[in-house]
Structure formats: structure tokens, C-alpha cells
Amino acid sequence: MSTSTDTNPAVPAQRAAGRPKADRTTRFGEGGGVLNVFSHGFLAVWALLIIFPLVWVVLGSFKTDAQINGSAWSWPASWGFDAFTRAWSKGIGGFFLNTLIVLAGSLTLTMLLGGMAAYVLARYEFKGNRAIYYLFVAGSMFPVYLALVPLFFMVRNLGEITPLLGLNSYLGLILVYVAYSLPFTVFFLYSFFRTLPTAVHEAAMLDGCSHTRAFFQIMVPMAKPGLVSVAIFNVLGQWNQYILPVTLMQPTTAGEADHSMLAQGLVNLALQSGYKSDAPALFAGMTIAMLPVLVVYLSFQRQVQAGLTSATLK
């Protein structure tokens, strides 16, 4: 087995050998200059490819409808915030809040339940262990929309038992998010738990520590890096979820609170723009939805990167 790690990479390695940087005959210390220009060029172009469209969208919020539909190169005539007001009045703030509430709940539960299941599956021998593991893995890649219609009926029926879980309820959506995040979470945490050393855990057990306490007080802290990186994946995945909230967050009676998620709200805004041709409000809506996320990311990017770092470092 261990030899395969050595031979396998050689295949793509040879294929990639024709790439320019492999042809450099300069030594490490000296060749940096040429390579530096080369790499800086690529990196700068890619950075431009990302920043330019985003800035263009922000600029779009200040243009007029005619300008946006006229030329890509138009420059805002004035810097008024009308478009932002129009976009905000559609309730974007509320959508943000809804999204945060649901994400907070679903993330906590996903990590807790996923961690528990993965831990038991990874560290305990019992009959049916493999079967349950494969059951989870099998679900990891199926498209959600395949289950939508039966799912809708199921959640509606849950709502008839208790409104807390029904359509347009935070908790209902949270549970669905959790259920659909479990396969992925279990799959990756499973392999993570398997890599953890057994000695500490065994020592704790000998000291009479219960299984539950061993999990929460010993294994979870040890598994923190893995948990963090899977959590990051889950945040990104659930943040981008669209079809589930559209299907499940529907008011069931007149005047019920609107619990739309952010993406839903944005789509409504786009819809409005489709009817009334208000492209600036659409661009402003995108800006409003984009900026806080970017700000949050910028303030936490160290943690995000650290999470990913520690994940790959075990």
C-alpha cells in the first residue's frame, strides 16, 4: 500500500513535466526572479478577474437603468443611494436575519449529530456498523431536487403534528438542512476520527470515564481541527442552499411572517426587476447581499484558512 503513494503521483507528474516552470534550468536561489514575474503575472490576472466583476456590480448600483443596459463602460452619473433604498425596502435585512437564525441552528446540529454518528461508526465495532456507514455515504451525492416533492409533503405533515416543524418554520428547515448535510459530514468526520490516536481515549476509559464523557471531553477537543474544516464546508453549502428554502419556507396562512432566506429574497428582487426593468436595484441588492458576507469573511479569513490548514494537518 505505501508504495502506491510513491508511484502513483508520478503519472500526473510526468504529464505536467512539459509545463514551462519545469523547464527552468535556474537554481532555486537565483531563478526566483523570472519565476516571480511569471507567477505574479498569473496571480494578478486572476485577482483582476475576480475583483473587476464585483466592483462592476457595485458600480452598477449607482447607474441608471438605461446605462446598465447601454454599455458595460458607462460610469455612474451620481452617487445616490436610491437603488439601495429600493432594494432594502424589499426586506433584505430580514432575509439576512432569517438566514443567520437557520444557519446557526443547522450548523450546530449538523456538527453535533454528524460528529456523534461518525465517531460511533469510526471507533466502535458492532454489527451493522459498515452497513450504516455505507448508507450514509450512499446519500452524499444525490441531488436534493430528486426528493423535493415527497419532502414537501413530509414537512407539511410534520407541521400538522406540530407547527414548530412545519412549512415556513425555522426548525423544520433546520432539520432538513441537517439531514441533507449528514452524509457529507459523516463521510469526512468518519475518516478523521479514525486517524486520531487511541491511547488517550483508552486511558480515559480505564479511569472509568463514560463513553459519552470520553466523546465530549476528550475526542471532540482532539478532533477540533477536523470539525472546524467540515463546519466551514457546511456553512458554505448551507449558505448557498436555494431550492430547499424555496420549497419549504412557504407561509401557510394569511399574514404569516415571511421567513425567506437571503437567496430567495434576491431572486424576488431579480423577479421584480424583470417586470419593471429596475436593474440598478438588482445590482444594489446584490451589493447589499455581497458586502456583509465579504466583510465577515475578511474578518475571519485567518480562522477559515487556519481551519482548513489544521484539517489537512490532521
Binding site: 537565483e30 486572476w46 476509559m205
Partner: protein, 310 residues
Amino acid sequence: MRHGKYPFIVGFLFLPIVLYVGLVLWPYAQTFGYSLTDWSGQSQEMNFVGLDNYAKLLDDEVFLGAIWHNLLLLILLPLVTILIALFFAFMLNVGGKGGTGGIQGVRGASFYKVVFFFPQVLSIAILAVLWGAVYRTDGAGLANGVLIKLGLADAAHPVQWLSDPDMVMWCVLAVLVWSGVGFYLVLFSAAMQGIPKDIYEAALLDGAKRGQTFLKITLPLLWETVQTAWVYLAIVAMDAFALVSSITPGAYFGGGPDHHSELISTYLMRSFLRNGEAGYACAMGVVIFFFTLILSVVSLWATKRDRIEY
């Protein structure tokens, strides 16, 4: 170890399994059932038709084309994204000036890392609207605007991007790569930072060239991370629905022009919602199921390797 082992196992597994079976597996199972019927999706009436829907699928040119497009994404998206991300990650971590300090990344590496990650935190709704504006087919589109300004496109015959049957899949691929590279760059850089510097320095002393260090040291040590990335990207490729259905031309869930960007999922949704062929759509869903099942098995097998200890 014996005391309370089974109650503990049951206690830990109960809730996750109930949620998962009830809200995920059971709806999927129902889909299997519907795939054997002629259900229209608009009433509760349906008749059992056996495997007719599957037989029809094999004859359906649009569906076969969709499978092909899905395969294309499944192969190219991970390949291109990973290559670019690896290249950038290498640049950022060991591509800098050598100098006395030995190995280091280029200047501004952390800036690039942050910027490249941006698309990942944007909602798919934003991506769709943004790229719709970029790929606009007249001079008001960002891409055409730039090309015309640079004299690379003719204002009278602007590039048709998503409306050109030969370009549309590549345009879709470009968006997916654009939004994905940052994440894998960060993932790979993290892994690269985990590689002890002295390995590089030892190689340096042995007279290794920069490209060689990448191929002989970095890539092998990163292999497991690359495999993980491949699995993530395969999932993204199977789920390109959100993007394709919203930016490509065509009535109801895109897939145009003239089915040239049709995916199984877009065709599935159109059959279901517009054409009133829910049973047929469910059969397509089952095909996706087997597709992904094979994929899961392959990736499980591929990731089942020992890691290199360092």
C-alpha cells in the same frame, strides 16, 4: 470498555439515523417508486408502467446528450480547477524569491489567498446574475465590452458566449472554475504549509530545481488532499444545475441553445414541471442515483490509501 457500550452506540446513532432516513432516504425511495409510473405530477393519479420510462430514456437524444455534458463536467471541472489551484498554491508558497531565507511565497500571497476565495462566499443567486451580465451577448456585456475595447471582438458581431452551441459548456465550466479555484487554493496552500521547510531545503542542497521540488516533493505529499478535492469537485459538477438552469438560454431551466448545455438535472426539472412527465423525470433521477453511486464507490476506493507520514 464493555459497560454501557450498546446503549451508548444506539443513543448516539438514533437521532442522526432517524433524520437521515426520514428526510433523505425515504423521499428518495418514493422517487424510485414514481419512476415506474406514468405520473404526470399534477394530480394524484398514476399507473404502473414497469420499466417503460427507462426504455424511453435510452431512446431520448436529449437525455443522451445530457449524460455526455454531465460526464464532460465531471472530468474537466476537477481536472482544470485542481491544476490551476495547485499551480497558484505552489506560487504562493514556494514561488517567491529565494534569497537567504530559503523557501518562501511570492509577495502579497495572503492578499491573493483572500481575494481568490471571494467567489466561494457569494450566493449562487449572485453568481448567476453576475455572470449573466458578464456574458451578455452585446456590447453592454462585461466580457464583450472588454474584448471590443481591446479590439479583440467586432462590435457588429460580438461573441455569443452562452448562445453559441460550441462555447456554452466552456462558458459554464469557466464560471465553475472561477468560483472554485480560491477554495482549493486555500486548501492546497494549507497542506503545503504543513510540509516541513527542511524537506525543501534538503532538496535544494541536493541541487533540485524548482519545478522538480513541486513534482517530487509537493505533489506526492499533497496527494491525499488532491483526492479529497476531487471528490468535492465531482459533487459540484453533478450539481451544476443551479448555474446552468439560470444562465443558459432556453425556455424553463435553460439547457440551450437547442439543448447544447442540457444536463440530466435541467432536463429532469423541465420534464417534471413543464412537460408534466413526473414519472419520466423520476426515472432520470434514478439514473443520476446510479451515476453518483458509481462515483462514490470509485472515490471511496481511490481515497483508501495510506498517507505519507512526515
